[in-house]
Amino acid sequence: MRISTAIISIIVISLLTTAAYRYFHEDWVLYRKAERFFEQKTYSKAIPLFDGLLGKGFKETRVLSYLSESHERSGDLTGAIEAFKRLAGKVPDNRAIRLKLGELYDRKGDHVRAVSIYSSLLKTEPSSRSIRIRLARSLAAAGDFDGAIAQYRVILGENP
């Protein structure tokens, strides 16, 4: 009798705890759920959850980070760009995010915007060959061959 009471009590406590957690920390539950969808690569299910969380202002930077990656991995470049732009607004000094944004603009064919991002990054890192080569590639893709040539000459240490 005592054992069965204990077992029932355990089950009840577990259920109550779970329910209470879900009630008081609904956003966390949704966040974990979205995170798991992201992990399972079911981005179409993760995106609306992250969007919803963002609407509530829940862990904005982290959620934006997941959201932008989800859009990108599901092939939605426009959605990814929008999310990365918002993310870049939250963490303006994050080099990786700005590089990613430049890369996405290039992939979308908006080379002019990519050029603008790489140019501004070069101002803070003028000796970065990887940024300069990205700039040169974007300039060439945008049809500014002379601009691209000048950048390649700098990379090669030759007079433009």
Partner: protein, 211 residues
């Protein structure tokens, strides 16, 4: 006993909470990583890569002399870059240096060149009236890309110039089956029919182009 039971219940309650609150372990890493090209490894953009891209950019800017000079510098450092060699041949072709372009492409084995380079070599052979050399290149291309009408037209024209009229007409017929409304192709076809003295057929074809 009561203490033990209480402890057990508390433990289970805690486990429940942590189960739902625990972060996704494989998601623990931040999703936004440093893009590969921005990592330390990618910082080392080798000079030959930059020079190759520079040579290409110069060719797009129609600065052919400079482009060829860069290709030559690149190939002196990396003679194994056969693709760059084929690209340089194209630039030489755009410069009007057909002979030089052809000899570079000829020096490359078929497996070392892309389709575009092989077509360019075929065009260069045609320009030099070396039709026998061009024909297998066009045919090999068409075997892989039977739907490329522009290349088939080149082959049909070349065969007619080489006086291989029946082979030419066969190619024209294949083209017209795919593009029955193309007046220019039909007129060229009619012309070849005339060269083979099939005047009635030629007249009928020309009549179709006047409708």
């Amino acid at each position: 006993m009561k203490h033990k039971l209480f402890l057990l219940l508390t433990l289970i309650a805690c486990i429940s909470v942590f189960h739902f609150a625990a972060p996704c372990r494989s998601c623990a890493q931040k999703p936004v990583q440093e893009p590969s090209a921005a990592t330390g490894k990618a910082e080392e953009v080798p000079d030959w890569v930059a020079r190759w891209e520079l040579a290409r950019a110069l060719s797009y800017a129609k600065r052919y002399d400079e482009s060829v000079a860069e290709y030559k510098k690149l190939l002196s450092e990396r003679p194994d870059l056969l693709k760059a060699k084929a690209e340089m041949a194209k630039v030489l072709f755009w410069q009007g240096k057909n002979q030089e372009a052809a000899s570079i492409l000829e020096s490359l084995e078929t497996r070392q060149t892309d389709n575009e380079s092989r077509l360019l070599l075929a065009d260069l052979y045609v320009a030099r009236k070396a039709y026998k050399k061009a024909q297998p290149l066009y045919r090999a291309y068409l075997e892989k890309h039977p739907g490329n009408h522009a290349v088939r037209l080149k082959l049909a024209e070349m065969l007619s110039w080489d006086k291989q009229y029946e082979a030419s007409l066969k190619e024209y017929r294949q083209l017209l089956a795919a593009l029955p409304d193309d007046i220019q192709i039909r007129r060229k076809y009619a012309l070849v029919l005339m060269w083979t003295k099939k005047y009635d057929e030629a007249a009928a074809e020309l009549k179709k182009t006047l409708k």
